[in-house]
């Protein structure tokens, strides 16, 4: 009966309301009816309040018109989303020992390369000896470089080797919102207990803790409790943690107690390997030439590579065409253009000069003092790596230098990166900036 009322009600509202509003607010409501009551179920608090404030009166008008009592119509948050919004009691969580972990991410399907081998090795070592190797382990690097993959892979391995270990993975924002919910619902003790007794706690993107003092306070105690009982903590951050503003000093210093490792954007060979790997996972035969084409042009991060592949495969499937170089060029034209546009020789020179607080003209001059020569070498090395220009072209653009000078610059930077952490850091930041 009330189902029919609701259907009639929908028909009226649809006529009366702008289509966007109707589709956004009213159409997704699910209804539960019984005992003379009609409950409109909204996915969250905001929708519920919006409906109550704006449409409930009208809905009740219509129900009344159809012969039901006005008060019989109420709006609530749907039960399923209720469960998600509130953290389950500790006992229920214990039943799910690997909370939040995505089994698809394993060490075996992580494509290693120069840019991430250190992070890979450290994470694997920690997963084999949780609490004993490095604690905490902090992985940092730009978005889409594989931090989350390693985090899940570690969690999955810890769990596989010890089914009793209570491994918790979550995103920092989830930690924040669960804490707020717990405070609101007077469940903060259960919340504390839940996280302070984890066997391994893996938190993604801790930069989102910035400026949230209450959360940092709670996390600080969680952190101490876990470290005291030698439970493993693995964290990720989108930049070197000391660079994140709005994180308390005591927490920041603790982040550095264990091991901090960076993940860099993948080099060309790794990008090709990632593409070939993904294609294989999806059971699509990918021509190496096509992988080269994409890898040469998209240098920013792994998600961009995967996105390009996803788009390519979707188009191939719907058009029934074979994935050739020209097909890829055509389908990914806009995407590849964008990635090309950012990285020009001029752009690199400008960014490097700015980074080292030099003028471009000085950097391209004949002067050989270290403070100018090193940035110049850096800029040349980056140009070789990030663009398609030939060595003579690069030499020419850098104040008419010989191509052997360019080669020397590339080798110098490469060698220095192995020993000089500061220079390696500079290089990584510049690459990130240029390929973002």
């Amino acid at each position: 009966m009330t189902q029919n009322f609701w259907q009639t009600c929908l028909q009226h509202l649809e006529r009366e309301m702008p289509a966007d509003d109707f589709n956004t607010w009213v159409r997704p409501l699910q209804i539960r009816s019984g005992k003379g009551r009609t409950t409109l179920l909204s996915p969250n608090e905001y929708v519920r309040d919006h409906i109550s404030l704006n449409y409930l009166e009208r809905i009740r008008d219509i129900f009344e018109h159809l012969g039901a009592a006005r008060e019989s119509v109420v709006v609530e948050i749907s039960r399923a989303s209720d469960q998600v919004a509130a953290p389950a009691p500790a006992s229920a969580q214990q039943a799910r020992p690997r909370s939040g972990l995505d089994r698809r991410y394993r060490f075996s399907n992580f494509v290693q390369g120069k840019s991430n081998e250190l992070a890979y090795a450290a994470t694997q070592q920690v997963a084999k000896k949780p609490g004993a190797a490095y604690n905490p382990l902090l992985l940092y690097g730009g978005t889409g470089l594989g931090k989350t993959h390693l985090l899940h892979a570690a969690g999955n391995m810890i769990f596989k080797r010890n089914h009793d270990a209570r491994v918790i993975y979550l995103h920092s924002e989830q930690f924040v919102s669960e804490m707020i919910q717990a405070l609101r619902g007077d469940r903060i003790d259960a919340f504390k207990q839940h996280y302070r007794t984890a066997g391994a706690l893996l938190i993604d993107d801790i930069q989102f803790f910035a400026g949230k003092e209450r959360t940092q306070e709670e996390f600080f105690h969680t952190f101490n409790a876990l470290l005291d009982s030698q439970q493993q903590i693995i964290l990720t951050c989108d930049r070197y943690p000391k660079e994140v503003d709005g994180i308390e000093a005591r927490l920041r210093s603790r982040f550095g107690w264990g091991l901090t490792v960076s993940i860099e954007p993948p080099d060309f060979e790794t990008r090709v390997a990632i593409l070939m790997n993904k294609a294989q996972e999806r059971d699509v035969a990918l021509d190496e030439a096509v992988a080269y084409l994409i890898a040469r042009r998209i240098r920013s991060n792994v998600r961009d590579l995967e996105g390009a592949l996803n788009t390519l495969f979707a188009n191939a499937r719907f058009t029934g065409r074979r994935i050739t170089e020209s097909f890829a060029q055509e389908v990914l034209r806009d995407l590849l253009l964008v990635h090309d546009r950012l990285i020009t020789m001029e752009n690199i020179q400008k960014s490097v000069a700015e980074y080292y607080k030099l003028r471009v003209t000085d950097m391209l001059s004949r002067r050989r003092t270290r403070t100018i020569a090193r940035p110049r070498q850096m800029a040349m090395a980056l140009t070789k790596e990030l663009t398609e220009h030939s060595l003579p072209e690069i030499g020419e653009a850098f104040g008419g230098r010989d191509h052997t000078t360019v080669l020397h610059a590339c080798r110098t930077i490469e060698k220095l990166c192995e020993t000089d952490g500061r220079l390696r850091e500079d290089r990584a930041k510049l690459v990130r900036q240029l390929t973002a």
Partner: protein, 239 residues
């Protein structure tokens, strides 16, 4: 707006946008990609295309199809929503499909970007499907949160071409069929020639024609269209 208790029972509800009413034209690949999303739990699709290219139609049609096959679907149009509404993106991971329309209206707003980022993560973790539309391609949106940009770039990207004049006529004819009204060719051409030529305006003109014809029990003719356009051309909102 909604305070009148009177309900005009004789009016039929507008039929929700459906796939079968979509004029595919040059957009076959994008059209298939949208439909395919239902078959792909965890799928992400970014759909770009200028105003009037049919984005909202496809998003709503997908929601309709999802509900038809028993899935829970949510559509949210970000255009015209205040910042507080970002809280409306919470808890959506319990749904099978979330369609976010008009991303371009909130790109660059940190509150919305954080909310979308979180929504994205929750949906993906839960294996839901996400369809995001924008009038500009992803690469030209001023998204400030790199984490959000890279996640949106992860999925399949499709671009819709707007209809040319012939395409617009086809859309008008299709909509006339769904509205179950007879719109003679000269009226269609009149609309295209003398009114604003964006799809939102043309379709709203059609709705008005229908209502006027219905109310005054008149046939839909060029003179009626002239009256309607006269009324509309002043203050119509492109939407």
């Amino acid at each position: 707006m909604l305070c009148s208790p009177q309900i005009p029972l004789q009016l039929e509800p507008r039929r929700p946008d459906r796939f079968e009413d979509f004029v595919v034209g040059p957009n076959a690949v994008a059209f298939h990609a949208v439909q395919q999303l239902l078959e792909e739990p965890g799928g992400i699709l970014f759909l770009s295309g200028p105003q009037g290219s049919g984005k909202s139609h496809l998003l709503n049609a997908l929601c309709h199809a999802a509900r038809h096959s028993g899935m829970a679907a949510f559509y949210i149009a970000l255009k015209r929503l205040p910042e507080e509404a970002a809280a409306g993106l919470e808890g959506l991971q319990t749904l099978d499909l979330v369609c976010v329309d008009d991303l371009d209206h909130v790109a660059g707003n940190p509150v919305w970007e954080q909310a979308l980022f979180r929504c994205f993560n929750e949906i993906r973790d839960a294996g839901g499907r996400l369809l995001v539309s924008s009038s500009q391609p992803l690469s030209s949106l001023p998204i400030q949160l790199p984490d959000l940009a890279s996640r949106l770039a992860w999925g399949v990207r499709q671009n819709l071409q707007p209809p040319d004049d012939a395409g617009k006529l086809e859309v008008l004819q299709q909509r006339a069929r769904t509205l179950r009204i007879e719109v003679p060719l000269d009226v269609q051409n009149y609309l295209l020639r003398y009114g604003r030529r964006d799809m939102a305006f043309l379709l709203s003109a059609l709705e008005r024609l229908k209502d006027a014809a219905f109310a005054d029990k008149r046939k839909i003719t060029v003179p009626l269209a002239r009256e309607i356009l006269g009324e509309q051309s002043g203050g119509a909102d492109a939407g």
